[in-house]
Amino acid sequence: MSATVTPQRERPPAPAGTGARKLTERAFRIRESGIIAVLAVFVAVTAAIQSRFLDITNIQFVLVNTTVFALLALGETLVVISRNYDLSVGSVLGLSAYLSASLFGQHHGIPIPVAFLTGLGIGLACGVANGVMVSAGRVPSLVVTLATLYIIRGIDILIVGGKEVVANSLPAAYTAIPRSTVLGVPDVAIAVAIVVGLGAYCLRSFRSGRELYAIGSNPDAARLAGIPIGRRVFAAFAASGAIAGVAGVLWAAQYGTVDSTAGTGYELQVVSAVVVGGVAIFGGSGSAVGAALGALLLNTISSALYVLGISPFWDQAIWGFLLILAISLDRLISVRLTAALRLRGARHG
């Protein structure tokens, strides 16, 4: 029998920065640029019908409203990237909002940063509880956080009862936070944009961040690669909780009146903002910036419908439609991308 190997034909030198790479980069950009395009269309159409929509006060209103959701979306992104879900963020926000705001009524003259630290601590505690049950207890996160969604809301109701924190019990400096602006841009919007940007940068540039993506992309391979899955997932839940706690303090400053229903139903809005923002629902890809843009889109739509005098019923219907659109687009892109990459692989091979 012939014992020789057919010699390899000479290959051209490996193409640098090849098309496949550009293709993936473009696909990732498409995800975010898609949201920006939808956002632009909504703004343009609404503004054409009702120019009041582009009033500086309305834009500021939308941006401030978005901050809370953008923060929640950042936390949720950490969790969803690792193929988990945090459904407790709305309840964490509610509990943190009430407890931190009621501090002002109980102890006069408390510095505002203390309220933020309190919210952060409460959120962190909730996140740690979620993280322990998911990582150490090996319970699916959907179940764990569905349970804590009710438990934390229950604790909230027990503490609050029929009471509520009213705006005039809060220090003026606190309720002024959402209204303070720099060159017309709300301070909180700038702060949150920086936080989200930092979060996205960390996810991209640190080993632990990439390992979260790896866990979501292929949990079995992650185990084989020796990634400390439990520790990473735990950290994601703890961070998500802490961020939701801070968002609660911001929420209280914004609305002034806090009762036991604060943040009810936010978890689904946040998850859908994250998905519309291009984070894969089964983990492994997506960015915090995209998720925050998803949150911005959500608030822009609400505001546009309000300005146009359309029934808020449409708010949810349109949002649901966008969700389906986002998921279909995601499928389409990944199918196309896979096919395109296969083709390229074949040409190489």
């Binding site: 029998m1 012939s2 014992a3 020789t4 190997v5 057919t6 390899q8 290959r11 051209p12 030198p13 490996a14 193409p15 920065g17 090849t18 496949a20 790479r21 293709l23 993936t24 540039s205 640190f206 080993r207 990439r210 390992e211 993506y213 790896a214 979501g216 992309s217 292929n218 079995d220 391979a221 992650a222 084989l224 690669a225 020796g226 990634i227 894969a280 492994g284 890809s285 990944s334 991308l337 896979t338 096919a339 395109a340 990459l341 296969r342 390229r344 692989g345 074949a346 190489h348 091979g349």
Partner: protein, 519 residues
């Protein structure tokens, strides 16, 4: 090109040696006396029939299993590998047939995960990482873009990524567990070039393959395993393919049951030119009433895929399947069942049984239509059916209501058989009917298949066990790489001939034999 054992390899002694290793899993002695020595710059082939102990040896080298006896030496010093991480630290990397990568991460990240080069502030240095990956691919002579994501890579490219990862870990021993099984011819050539590059850089390669021609093409040494023992270990040069086949089969020929087979009747199942692109090509076969036809060949030669396509589980691209002259609809197991075909799949736990359901329910599952009255299943009829077949097949169970997971492997297999026999099929397809069951039950299953054939059922049996094939079948079709390679009558087949056909070492031109495939 450097000759066998080029460079320093031989004088420096083996980089990795396994001596007289034994390993048992429960009552099964998977490895009795496994020895192998790997030298730097050498590709070493490990061959043997299914179940000869190759996988166990690989898993010992990979640190997955620890041997019960014997010793493992790295650079001449005895070591104990407590896990895959320890093997990796010792410079041993294992490339599996189908690697598991992170589909959403880039090729470079897949190679360097947890070890990404860093720049200031412990941030990942993406540029350095891609450059390092590109350097490794250049060394291997493979133009793979480090910056593309892994999703959509062919299996061959995924293996290259794994090999690159091994090199980035400074692996000195690279174990490839049947890497070529899922590759095209061009991809195999490229892999060989990669192996050559690895050898030239002084790595030791352990190459496992069923395809003997690949061993002659790429390896310098070969070790043959049989029944858990090393039976041959020497240079490839000077060996003939026939020597390897003889060493692999080696055992005394199994005795043939006398005169169990009657004269076959009318054709029941006729498969004509069945093709599924990239999986199997041009498969034609006929199973007659009262006949047992074996589909032999190596794992991965496409046997199970053909069976699944016949039964309608998988699609096929061309060809036809007819049962008693009536064409079966593609992709319709329901249609196949209605036409009288039964299918006992290879993996009974996943595909053949519903493990949490009772023995009774599992037996009745394929006969529910018959057990219905006014749309409701009569549980008394279900029980009668199950009890009847359990008695006929001598299934050992506690109660019919016990979950089938409580039964032993052999009895579980009988439940799967009972499920299909309850439908009184005209044609029964069985895939590895005796895998993982004890010798006594195995004999019972063989008797059962022979009895079915005497009752006029046509049986198509897939089996990797040559003694079993020779014992029960009337005709033997051998598949190789998705095609029928040879056909033997029960009377004139030998294990050596079947093995030779399955590995592509047929004495005559393969084309001539393939021509006999359809009588």
């Amino acid at each position: 090109m450097p000759g066998p054992g080029a460079g320093t390899g031989r004088e420096a002694g083996p980089v990795l040696a396994l001596r007289h290793a034994a390993k048992a899993f429960g009552a099964v002695q998977a490895l009795v006396d496994g020895s192998i020595e790997l030298y730097p710059g050498e590709a070493h082939a490990l061959v043997g029939e299914n179940g000869a102990g190759k996988s166990t040896m690989v898993k010992i080298l990979a640190g997955v299993h620890q041997p019960d006896a014997g010793e493992l030496l790295v650079d001449g010093a005895p070591v104990t590998l407590h896990g895959p991480a320890a093997a990796q630290a010792a410079g041993i990397a294992v490339i599996y047939q189908e690697p598991t990568l992170f589909p959403d991460l880039t090729v470079a990240e897949n190679m360097f995960i947890r070890r990404q080069p860093l720049r200031s502030g412990r941030r990942i240095d993406g540029r350095a990482m891609r450059a390092a990956a590109a350097a490794i691919f250049a060394r291997l002579g493979v133009p793979l873009d480090p910056a593309r994501i892994a999703r959509g890579l062919s299996i061959a490219d995924q293996q290259v990524v794994e090999i690159g990862k091994a090199l980035s870990l400074d692996a000195r021993v690279i174990v490839m567990d049947e890497p070529t099984a899922a590759l095209s011819a061009a991809e195999v050539d490229r892999l060989f070039a990669v192996i050559r590059a690895l050898r030239e850089h002084g790595a030791a390669v352990l190459f496992i393959s069923h395809r003997l021609e690949e061993i002659f093409a790429t390896c310098q040494r070969v070790t043959v395993m049989r029944d858990g023992r090393q039976v041959l270990s020497r240079e490839v040069a000077g060996l003939a393919a026939a020597d390897l086949v003889r060493a692999m089969v080696g055992r005394e020929l199994a005795e043939r049951p006398a005169g169990a087979h009657g004269t076959p009747g009318e054709p029941l199942l006729a498969v004509r030119r069945l093709t599924r692109e990239g999986v199997f090509t041009d498969i034609s076969l006929t199973v007659r009433a009262g006949e047992i036809v074996a589909l032999a060949g190596l794992v991965g030669s496409g046997r199970s895929e053909v069976a699944r396509a016949i039964f309608g589980i998988d699609r096929y691209d061309a060809g036809s399947v007819t049962v008693r002259g009536r064409a079966l609809r593609r992709g319709s197991p329901t249609g196949a069942m209605a036409a009288g075909v039964g299918f006992v799949p290879e993996d009974r736990r996943q595909q053949g049984l519903i493990m949490d359901m009772s023995v009774q329910r599992n037996v009745a599952l394929a006969s529910l239509r018959r057990l219905r009255r006014a749309g409701l299943i009569r549980s008394s009829a279900e029980r009668r059916l199950a009890a009847d077949w359990a008695a006929r097949l001598k299934i050992k169970y506690g109660r019919l209501g016990d979950p089938v997971s409580m039964l032993s492997g052999g009895n579980q297999q009988k439940v799967v058989l009972a499920k299909w026999l309850g439908r009184r099929p005209a044609v029964l397809i069985v895939d590895e009917p005796t895998r993982g069951i004890d010798v006594a039950t195995k004999a019972e299953v063989h008797q059962l298949l022979l009895r079915l054939a005497r009752d006029g059922v046509g049986v198509l049996m897939i089996s990797s066990e040559l003694p079993e094939v020779l014992r029960v079948s009337d005709r033997i079709l051998v598949m190789r790489e998705g095609r029928l390679a040879a056909e033997f009558r029960h009377a004139d087949a030998s294990e050596e001939e079947i093995m030779a056909a399955a590995t592509g070492q047929a004495a005559g031109p393969p084309g001539a034999l393939a021509g006999q495939a359809v009588p």
